[in-house]
Each structure stands twice: as C-alpha cells, then as structure tokens.
C-alpha cells in the first residue's frame, strides 16, 4: 500500500494530498505545471518536509508528524529519477550506477546489474563520463542508477520533460520495460496524458495543490466532472482490453473488452496480454442504424448516456461541437458537430451505433497494463 496524507504550505500554494492505493503498478500524478505534483513526490522522498501528515509505503512509515517520525532521505529507500539526469559529473557511468547499489541494504530486493544495463542498453557506455552522453543516454543511466539502488519504490518526476519528442519516444519503452521486468512500484509525475496512459494503472489528479481524484485510469479519464482536469483538447476514452488474436494477413489485432471486440493495427504483444487503449472522441462517429457497407471496422452498439455541451468560446459564441457519452459496456466519448446532433435528433437514452476507424487508433496509445485482473 502507498499511503500518503500530507499538507504543506508553500508560499501561496497550500499542498494537501491524500492518496491511498495498491503498491503494485504505476501510480501517476497528473496536473499542470505548478500544481504541486513535484512537491508531493518530494515529500515522499524527504526532500521536502510536510507541515503535518504521514507517508507510509508498504507498512513502512517514512514520515509521521504525530509520532514524530521523519526518516532521513538516505534511510527512505526510494529511487528518484529527476527531470534532469543529475549524473555525477566526476564519476564514470559505472560509478554512477554503482553509487546507490553499493549502499542498498542486504535485505533489499536484488536487482541484477547485468539485467539492468542490458534492458536499458547502456552496456557500451559504462566507461564513459556523463558529459560525453546524449540527453537520452543520460536519462537511461539515471534510470539504471535509481533502479540499482534496489528501492522500495521508484519516484519519477517528469523524467522525459527535458527531452525532445524523438528522445521521449526512445525512453518511454525503457520505462515500460522497467515496470514490467523489475516490478518496482512507481510514482510517475507528468503533465503529459499520453505518457500516463501508456504507463499508469492508477491516476491521481492534482490541481492547485490539491488532490482532486484518485482512481483507476480508465475510470477517471471517462468521468465528466473531471474533464477540466484530464484535458479537453484531446478528449477521449481509455478502455481496458485484452489481446485476443492477431491477423497477420491484414496486419490487425483483435482485442476483447467489456463492450465486445475491437480491431486495431497489429501490436507486438502476445495474445492474452492486457492492454489499455485510448480512443479520441473525435475519431468516433455515430449512426442511428447498423451500417453494413462502411470502412470502419469497429461498429459497436450502445446507448447515449449523456450529452454534454462545451463551454462557450472565448468570444461568447457557441462552440460547433458537442461531446456525447455512449455506453457500449464501457463509457465511450464521441465528439460530433451540433449540426449532426440536430439532424439526428439525438437524445439521452437513445440506442446508437458507434463507429471507430481502426487506423485512427494510434499504436502509441496502447499501453500494456500492469495488473491483469484490473479491468474496471
């Protein structure tokens, strides 16, 4: 269990965070810059002291203002990957990697050194000095260094934020591999929903220093009342699914989920793997009748559960589109024009068919799920 319940006044910002969740998998803190995400992980790490509250990881109390417990940073057994790599410039890559490893207590979990440098692809860098490495390589070494300290929990504070887009997509798979291979629980801070969908199981929404919601990623991203926090522009639904089979001839993969089957571009994971898929609201269209001759591979029957108009545009005019929530076994968000809404005379409770183009589903939006039993 991760149990965090802390408060801290930072200038005008009052940080107040209460998070309780399973340790397994990845916990993501999502929020805008300056919302206090980093302060929350820093309080877990001991880099920032809470005014009051407690922090407990798997029954081990790191901080408790009531009983006066405040473990020193080096006693907390956390691994911290910062936004900047923070490699020690006077040490070789090898010495950097060994820095935390040598200091890990003997009873800590043992992560194999060769495994880590293999997975991170940093074997050939081992004798180099940090200043000779590229940004992506540095961050991989930093990941390895934190991991090799054999921590109870790995904290990552926007580890990709200082990298360009190409480097980001280079590092992300490494973080996924760390999650799947070494099974170290992670708290991942980010302001990028794409990263979070690929990595996280549990989502924590942080706004203005406060934790607004904690819950399974799929659930929170489909909740309307949280739309302001989860982001409107790329609004969509996150659906938990399982790989059923691959179609080699046409390069497709069939997924099963609560609402039926979904065909998406071929993914590399083996059948049986749990995945998470993000479908953007603007990639879904609606039909009143069951279409027969359409190019969309995915036709799903459902019922309109909610119509939700957008806020007015900045100039006071009404926006051209509207979001519709269709219950197809799970909540699926659809964005259509108000013109279509009027033409089709859509109302809540109506039966409807949702059409999803397979090609609109980005392979990158598929995240492998960590816990197989968790399909809410």
């Amino acid at each position: 269990m991760i149990e965090i319940d802390v408060t801290r006044q930072l200038g005008n910002l009052e940080i107040s965070a209460k998070i309780e969740t399973q340790t397994r998998g990845v916990l993501a803190l999502f929020g805008q810059s300056g919302s206090g995400k980093t302060s929350i992980v820093n309080m877990v790490a001991g880099l920032l002291n809470p005014d009051s509250g407690r922090v407990k990881i798997d029954g081990r109390v790191l901080f408790d203002s009531e009983s006066g417990i405040n473990l020193q940073i080096h006693e907390r057994r956390i691994g911290y990957v910062f936004q900047e790599s923070r490699l020690f410039p006077h040490m070789s890559v090898l010495k950097n990697l060994n820095y935390g490893r040598r200091r890990a207590p003997n009873n800590a979990r043992q992560i194999d050194f060769d495994d880590v440098i293999e997975v991170l692809g940093i074997k050939h860098l081992i004798d180099q000095k940090p200043y000779t490495l590229s940004g992506g390589e540095r961050q991989r070494v930093a990941l390895g260094r934190a991991l090799l300290a054999n921590p109870d929990i790995l904290l990552m504070d926007e580890p990709l934020a200082s990298l360009d887009v190409a480097r980001k997509s280079e590092i992300l798979p490494f973080i996924e591999m760390i999650r799947d291979r070494f099974e170290v629980p992670m708290i991942y801070v980010s302001h990028s929903m794409d990263e979070i969908i690929r990595l996280a199981d549990t989502l924590v929404l942080v706004d203005d220093g406060q934790v607004k919601a904690v819950g399974p990623l799929e659930e929170l991203t489909s909740r309307l009342d949280l739309r302001r926090l989860t982001g409107r522009y790329d609004a969509g639904s996150v659906i938990a699914a399982k790989i059923e089979s691959h179609d080699e001839e046409f390069g497709l993969t069939t997924l099963t989920f609560k609402g039926g089957k979904l065909r998406v571009p071929r993914v590399k994971n083996v059948p049986g793997t749990s995945v998470r898929i993000r479908i953007r609201a603007r990639d879904v269209s609606l039909s009143l009748e069951k279409p027969s001759q359409v190019s969309q591979l995915n036709v799903l029957e459902g019922r309109i559960s909610e119509l939700r108009a957008h806020r007015l545009n900045d100039d006071g005019s009404e926006p051209h589109d509207i979001d519709i929530c269709v219950d197809i076994g799970v909540s699926l968000w659809v964005r259509i024009t108000r013109w279509s809404l009027a033409q089709m005379k859509l109302v809540e409770g109506q039966s409807i068919y949702a059409l999803i183009k397979s090609t609109s589903i980005d392979r990158q939006s598929l995240g492998q799920q960590h816990t197989k039993d968790h399909t809410s």
Partner: protein, 233 residues
C-alpha cells in the same frame, strides 16, 4: 648544491617548511569556514565574513603586532600555550607558520568558497536519495567537485606564505636558522652595505621557485579539469 650558499639553502628550507606548516593548519580550517559562508545564513554573517577578510585589508604589521601582544609569552593565548603545552610561538618558526597562515587565510577561503558555491546542490540531493549519508555525500560528491577551488586556494595560499614579510618580522623577528625566510633574508641583505649581490641572488631564487610552482599548479589544474569533466547536465 655548490651554487647555493649555506645561508641561502637555510632560508629556502625555512621558507618551504614554514609555508608547508602554515598550509597544513589553515587549509582544513579554511574549508570549514568556506563551507559555513557558502551554505549557511546566520545573524552576524557579515561581521564573520569581515573578520575573515581582515588580513587582506589590514597592514601586515598590524596583524604581526596583534599576534605579538596576544600570542607572545606574556599574551593571553601565548601564556596559555606555554603553560599547558610548553609551546612558544614568538620568535620561533612555529610563530612564523601561524603568521603566514593567517595572512593567507582569506585568499584560501575565497577560492574554496567560490568553488563550493558552484557545486550543484541538486547532485547532493540525488546522492541522498541513493542512500548516502550526508557525510558520505560531502566526501564523495561535494569535496571532489570542489577540488579545483581547493587547489587554487592552496596555490594562492602557499605563494602568499612564501612571500609573507610584514607580520612575520613583527611577530617572530629575523633570527637566522629560525625565522629568516627568503623575504626576510633579502631585506637583511639589502640593509647592509655591499649586500647587493647576495640580495640579487635571492631575487633570482625567488623567481625560480615562483615559476616552478606556477608550472606545477597549471599541470595539476589541467589534470583535475579533465577528471571532473565539463559541465553537469
């Protein structure tokens, strides 16, 4: 060494011995002082900083005189040292080492402090999260990254000690074989008629030592820069 007179060898040896001892006592103290000045804010810091810098701005003779009245046999500190440890500072080479160290102190502190302030404290935080005790962080991260400043401080300090004259002659006088360092020897020769040739020889010796030390320090500094690498992130 035929080309040096016995007197010259004695002066060189004394100068080096006194400077070395001055560095031995002042370096660790300067490191601690620089650490306090670089990392802590406290009431009276301005005054503390000012006192540290006094030897840089006061006439050396003033420092020497203050040392004489406090650390001389009759002085508060001097009588205590003599009664408890049997150590006499006034008119001995030990006193010369004290005087030289005090005169060099602000230079050493300044160099180390600059270097300490340049150390990225986020690296120290990272080391803490990797399980290192604060003392270990200091020894493995802060100190190695401060080495360039420590070297610069040591070189400046040593050079200052070799050249120290005013405070030394006031506090420990000019005693052949005990406190007659190179500068004091030069002064003594220049005061007697016909001493020009001997004085000139000391000038040449001083220049040679200075050039030798500069070259050595340059090589050392280069090697250090290479070891530490360029930039952090």
């Amino acid at each position: 060494m035929d080309f040096l007179t016995e007197l010259e060898i004695e002066a060189i040896w004394l100068s080096l011995k006194i400077s070395a001892w001055a560095m031995i006592w002042s370096m660790p103290l300067a490191l601690g002082t620089a650490w306090i000045l670089a990392r802590y804010e406290f009431p009276g810091k301005f005054l503390f900083d000012g006192i540290i810098h006094l030897p840089l701005v006061l006439p050396p003779v003033v420092i020497g005189y203050v040392l004489l009245i406090t650390m001389g046999r009759q002085g508060v500190v001097g009588s205590f040292l003599y009664d408890t440890f049997g150590i006499t500072l006034a008119f001995s080479w030990r006193g010369a080492a004290v005087a030289a160290g005090i005169m060099a102190f602000p230079l050493i502190v300044r160099a180390i402090r600059l270097s300490l302030e340049a150390v990225d404290q986020r690296l120290e935080a990272a080391a803490r999260t990797l399980g290192a005790h604060p003392i270990v962080v200091f020894l493995t991260i802060t100190l190695p990254l401060t080495i360039p400043g420590i070297i610069v401080g040591a070189i400046l300090g040593f050079a200052r000690c070799l050249g120290e004259f005013g405070a030394t002659i006031t506090f420990v006088s000019n005693i052949p074989g005990e406190t007659r360092t190179l500068p004091i020897a030069l002064y003594a020769f220049s005061q007697v008629p016909g001493g020009e040739a001997a004085a000139l020889r000391i000038v040449v010796i001083s220049v040679a030592i200075a050039l030798f030390a500069l070259a050595g320090s340059e090589i050392l500094a280069r090697r250090m820069r290479k070891r530490i690498g360029s930039g952090h992130d």
